[in-house]
Symmetry: C2
Subunit: 223 residues, 2 copies
Amino acid sequence: MEIKVLKNILNANSQIAEQNHRLLAGKSILAVNVMSSPGAGKTTLMLRTAEELKGKARIAVIEGDVSSSIDTEKLIQAGVTAIQINTDGGCHLDAGMVNSALLNLPLDELDIIFIENVGNLICPGEFDLGEHLKVVISSTPEGEDKPHKYPLLFTITNAVVISKTDLMPYVNFDMDGFCLTVKGLNQKAELFKICGITGDGIGEWGEWIMKNRDIVRANAGKK
Amino acid sequence: MEIKVLKNILNANSQIAEQNHRLLAGKSILAVNVMSSPGAGKTTLMLRTAEELKGKARIAVIEGDVSSSIDTEKLIQAGVTAIQINTDGGCHLDAGMVNSALLNLPLDELDIIFIENVGNLICPGEFDLGEHLKVVISSTPEGEDKPHKYPLLFTITNAVVISKTDLMPYVNFDMDGFCLTVKGLNQKAELFKICGITGDGIGEWGEWIMKNRDIVRANAGKK
């Protein structure tokens, strides 16, 4: 009985995710679903990415949080277009929530939308949002065993961003072991090593995002 | 419809949680539900606690993980009685899983059982396991805004353990602000500041655990 209900929820979610995808494709907007544990540095990456892509692409951030609007306030203060979704206890964003946010964003003035999911390394993996790319952030203080312990997100993601590389001297994080485990689960996953404080690695990450934005634009042009 | 099903799940969970609680009370065993984000230091705290309580109390750890048995292997290597629950994708432990684990532990030879929940700052808060105490670990690199963004766990917990205090010089963590926010949500929550590497703060934490173990034993004696 529970399984049937879950299937219905997931089917309904998939249908709305497809609507989101069509809406984004129609506007040639790249959408990136950013997932991680709490405190891995999603918002910091968003702030750094906004700086990096300034003048290259017009971006917005959909902020998913159980509660509060702290991150949206930070983004807006930094001049980034951002909209808050509060899940009120919910452990993930779903396609319907993202649809509501999309309808409240100036889509004709945007090139890239980042969807900052709720901080959770498990549940967000079950819900397609209509995005083009999934990205997982994993911070060095969390330890290199995260892909072993939370394999789904690392298996389905397009890229893994290893954040807080500035803490490497102070934490016990086996970078090579981590990268090998990710590649073992998901050979196609791109790997980026970044530091939100110093900006290290943000250039390479920004280039990859822009490359994917060009692909979305080229695909839209073909239609 | 979904709400009804969820209620049924939670009702069924509560009934098994009560069974667990009676079973533990009958054996005068203190049970502690340990919850946190992935990588906040749950297993490290378990290892340090086992050292600290050696000769004072006989402990066991029930290890909850989506996948893998890495943490149970670490504990067993350190001589700690431990049993693994894999949720196979599930985002929290429920009372039924803990019941199965309890039935596989030598209860007559134990004083304290730590239940290391799945790394998730949201979903475990919805599921009572029959424990006496809930404990939330929050690590300094996660940032001081976690109680604002994930309020449920911080509101229902008996104690908050602030871990990785050795990283304070390298991360932007407002300790006073964090403690004030926790107290604002939950005036009764005990606060402990610990470092799993140096052992700082483990003594005070161990004393609190032993005090609670004595309360469980005294209550059992009264019956």
